[in-house]
Symmetry: C2
Subunit: 175 residues, 2 copies
């Protein structure tokens, strides 16, 4: 359901193929959502037969035909409906915290390793987000759309930074 709305959101910015949607998910949406391509294509099909999008086949000289998906007015309404229906509350879900919660089953050095490993990964994710942000933040304050999109990336950056601080605190005080 959320995926359907996110796809509508992207189609609202520009008509797109499933393939392009997948690339957007991998590049700009990845900090708060991701999706398997099979799931994207199937959701796209659902959107079409609900009347939220239409398809037009665009032939290309060298590459396969593009199945361009265009949002309809009904689709735009559905999107706005979702946005107006109140702030969503996603259920927290982090397998790593589960590992930490039960990490006492491991010997001390393995716990340290677990935390260190996560620290490396978190730092890598943070670096990725920071480099993503470099491309946008100059004109981000300009229009509202860009500002809000950049803001979600900032959120992810803050979350990763907070996690690094937490990891350091845990590693320092672990008895």
């Amino acid at each position: 359901m959320v995926l359907a709305r996110l796809i509508l959101g992207l189609l609202c910015l520009a008509p797109m193929t499933g393939y392009e949607l997948k690339k957007h998910f991998d590049s700009s949406i990845n900090h708060f959502w991701n999706a398997d391509k099979a799931q994207i294509y199937r959701t796209l099909a659902q959107l079409v037969d609900k009347g939220y999008a239409t398809v037009t086949t665009v032939a290309q000289s060298n590459y396969p035909d593009r199945q361009e998906h265009h949002i309809t007015d009904a689709g735009r309404q559905a999107l706005v409906g979702w946005l107006s229906d109140g702030a969503a509350q996603g259920t927290e879900r982090d397998p790593f915290m589960g590992q930490v919660f039960f990490a006492a089953e491991l010997p001390r050095e393995d716990i340290d390793q677990l935390l260190t490993e996560r620290r490396v990964k978190t730092q890598a994710v943070l670096d990725d987000y920071l480099s993503q942000r470099e491309g946008i933040d100059m004109r981000a304050a300009a229009d509202r759309r860009s500002f809000l999109m950049a803001a979600t990336l900032d959120h992810a950056i803050r979350q990763q930074a907070a996690e690094l601080e937490w990891l350091d605190a845990v590693m320092e005080h672990l008895p």
Copy 2:
């Protein structure tokens, strides 16, 4: 998969019924995972027929029989295997950030309302976490197990606090 490990982790602390597991999820695990009770009972059944747990029916005078689930050695090994298999990296997934990402489709006052509403909810979640922490932090530094369990709650608290700061920043600078 993750749910199965979390259940094993809880069974590792003490033998339990599905009902008790659900209560643990709702009270102490909720800041990083939650689970439907149907899902818990089914996963429990899977654990039993994989040989990771055994059931013993304990009759009670007044209340229904308890199907007490005990972790086996194989179960303990599976748990430790998961913990040793490297730090998990959960895929970020927050529908609210999706709403923010596309919020420019809404008129300005609706955006403010969306953010304000989320702020209220986030504050409520934070308050809940803070009150949960009050019951544990005195002896939390004592043994490693309690420390690690409390640490995951601290993580959730930091995340919620970071989100509040972010929300305030967004509301202040939104063009």
